[in-house]
């Protein structure tokens, strides 16, 4: 692909999104700055970054779930050609067009309602289906996410499900309205590695079966590298590199991405010491002149006093660095 994200098959287009955190005594701090990305139909896109990178708030802003003190101050979000930021009530989009699989399955589920009731709730709210029909659809959904003995287990309560099964139930809930886009916010962080691999496998399977797109938000580079088609790397509120999985991992251009890849231990063949990134991620309210990674960057030079823009290097591979 050679375009800038305006391909006809583009499902979600985010352009120049800036989110600020209002503060009583300080000027507003930017949580995300000038963030642009797109998700095509049937794609699994990874949005990765460490704590404080702004990845989660970027995703939440798409469905109107920003905390009270945060606002989108500029930018455009187009979903199937429709502008999501002005006009439409985000609650109408949420669940039906864009669904969320949250991080912490146990806290996301209501402990006093059955799994079946909760998986069927979006159908009730958006769909207006009859009760019996809902029960049957819920059974199908739970089967689709491979809950063993799904129809019988629909009357169970969340505590009767294991962590992996709770995450599957939430995935079923997200699928209920057959949304074209599903946001998955670190859906496997609390799970064992073998269960994590199953959930990842399930996401791939669901994409193939339903054609839904996934925006997968994670801090885990290794995990994202295993199954995402394209990846956006965020640092301190900005996208610093984006491209296909292969471009990001085999032809890494941004020094931050390179440092992150180097910092992850491997199963075998590790160096005596892991390469680290000196210093820490800047806080949102810290005003930084020039490149936001400059202070920690091994390659920083004179040009870095001026903020670099995200420039497309070749094809779909873009990088925000003067020296890349």
């Amino acid at each position: 692909m050679t375009d800038s994200g305006l391909a006809p098959e583009s499902l979600l287009e985010v352009e120049g999104l800036t989110i600020v955190l209002r503060h009583r005594h300080r000027p507003p701090a930017s949580i995300a700055r000038d963030v642009s990305f797109h998700v095509n139909a049937g794609e699994i896109v990874g949005l990765i970054g460490e704590s404080g990178s702004g990845k989660t708030m970027t995703a939440k802003s798409l469905i109107g779930l920003l905390p009270d003190r945060m606002d989108v101050v500029s930018g455009r979000v187009r979903f199937r050609g429709r502008d999501l930021l002005d006009g439409d009530d985000p609650a109408r989009v949420r669940g039906r067009d864009i669904a969320l699989i949250p991080q912490d399955a146990l806290h996301a589920l209501n402990p006093v309602k059955t799994i079946g009731w909760q998986v069927g709730e979006p159908l009730q709210v958006h769909g207006g289906l009859r009760r019996r029909r809902i029960a049957s659809v819920v059974g199908d959904l739970l089967e689709r996410v491979h809950i063993p003995d799904a129809r019988r287990r629909a009357v169970d309560y969340p505590h009767q499900f294991s962590g992996g099964m709770q995450q599957r139930a939430l995935t079923a809930m997200a699928l209920s309205m057959e949304p074209p886009l599903i946001l998955a916010d670190e859906p496997t962080t609390a799970l064992d590695v073998t269960i994590q691999a199953e959930i990842i496998d399930l996401i791939g399977e669901l994409r193939d079966a339903t054609g839904a797109s996934f925006l997968f938000i994670s801090h885990d580079l290794a995990l994202v590298s295993s199954f995402c088609d394209r990846i956006y790397v965020m640092y301190a509120g900005e996208i610093v590199e984006s491209g296909t999985k292969d471009a990001i991992f085999s032809h890494t251009r941004h020094p931050y991405t390179r440092a992150l890849i180097g910092a992850a231990p491997r199963l075998a063949g590790n160096p005596e010491r892991l390469p680290t990134i000196p210093g820490r991620i800047p806080r949102p309210h810290e005003e930084i002149r020039g490149c936001r990674f400059r202070e920690r960057c091994p390659d920083a030079g004179t040009a870095c006093g001026e903020a670099p823009r995200l420039e497309t290097a070749d094809g779909d591979h873009a990088v925000r660095c003067w020296y890349a």
Partner: protein
């Protein structure tokens, strides 16, 4: 014959056929008994690093609790530096509590939220019987410096620290009593990759300087690949495989170990494979 006799003295910790059962709870004992550890055997030489991997419910945390004598065991033996852990009492037990120090995943729970970081770490020195106030403060500041923290953080409260800083402070607290063995329970699972790299390097540096042995419990195989010479794989309370880390990861014998290795994502872009359901 006492178990400890004839043991090569280079062994710091030896467990032999260690078993423990959690009794079913409640009036009707509906849960039934759970065999949390089933004939677990392993040994740890002085200066060795051992990784214990397994999923939730594999018994790895129970094993740590047994070593710390926080959980009793039904049968088998575990000996620390030649002395059976279960029979320790009085000063010998106090000595065990000093020489074996745990560091947990959530260091926030390790600290009293109303104590400054410095006074929490300083308590360790009191345990050693070193009460001289000025001396303790200097030691605390030196330890903070050793773990890569600003010594002035001695006055900070736990909630004022970031996750990575708090984990470093927890390590300083553990090192204050000059332990021979550090038990790490998922010490970096809550940290970002770049912070994890700093903390893992720190463990290596500190081991060189302080010379303690280390047991690392985790579900993260690459972390063990980086940190540990030896590896113990546990499942449902049993040891399914053990050996040198490079050998076990390179040529796993047990299908379960193979499944764990296949599911572990690596930045190479390797596809994580879900395990076959048994």
């Amino acid at each position: 014959m006492p178990f400890a006799a004839g043991m090569p003295d280079a062994m710091l910790l030896v467990a032999r056929k260690l078993s423990t059962t959690f009794r079913g709870r409640g009036l009707l004992r509906r849960g039934g008994d759970v065999r949390a550890l089933n004939e677990v055997s392993f040994s740890l030489a002085k200066n060795q690093t051992l990784g214990i991997v397994g999923e939730s419910g594999s018994g790895k945390s129970t094993l740590l609790r047994v070593i710390l004598r926080l959980t009793p065991y039904d049968s088998g033996n575990v000996a620390f530096d030649g002395a059976e852990v279960a029979t320790l009492s009085g000063t010998a037990l106090k000595d065990l509590r000093r020489r074996v120090q745990p560091v947990f995943q959530d260091p926030y729970a390790t600290f009293n939220p109303r104590f400054s970081i410095g006074s929490s770490i300083g308590l360790g020195f009191e345990l050693l019987g070193e009460h001289r106030r000025q001396g303790v403060r200097e030691e605390v500041r030196r330890l903070l410096d050793d773990v890569g923290l600003d010594p002035d953080l001695e006055r900070a409260l736990p909630h004022e620290l970031s996750g990575g800083q708090r984990q470093r402070a927890a390590i300083a607290r553990a090192l204050a009593v000059r332990p021979d063995l550090l038990l790490l329970d998922e010490p970096t699972s809550a940290l970002d990759v770049s912070v994890q790299a700093q903390v893992l390097n720190l463990f290596k540096d500190l081991r060189r300087r302080y010379g303690f042995s280390l047991i690392l419990v985790t579900h993260d195989l690459p972390v063990v690949g980086f940190m540990c010479d030896h590896l113990l794989v546990m499942k449902s309370g049993e040891v399914v495989e053990r050996g040198a880390t490079a050998t076990v990861i390179g040529k796993p014998v047990s299908p379960y170990t193979r499944a764990l290795i296949d599911s572990a994502p690596e930045v190479s872009g390797k596809k994580a494979q879900p395990a076959e359901r048994q």
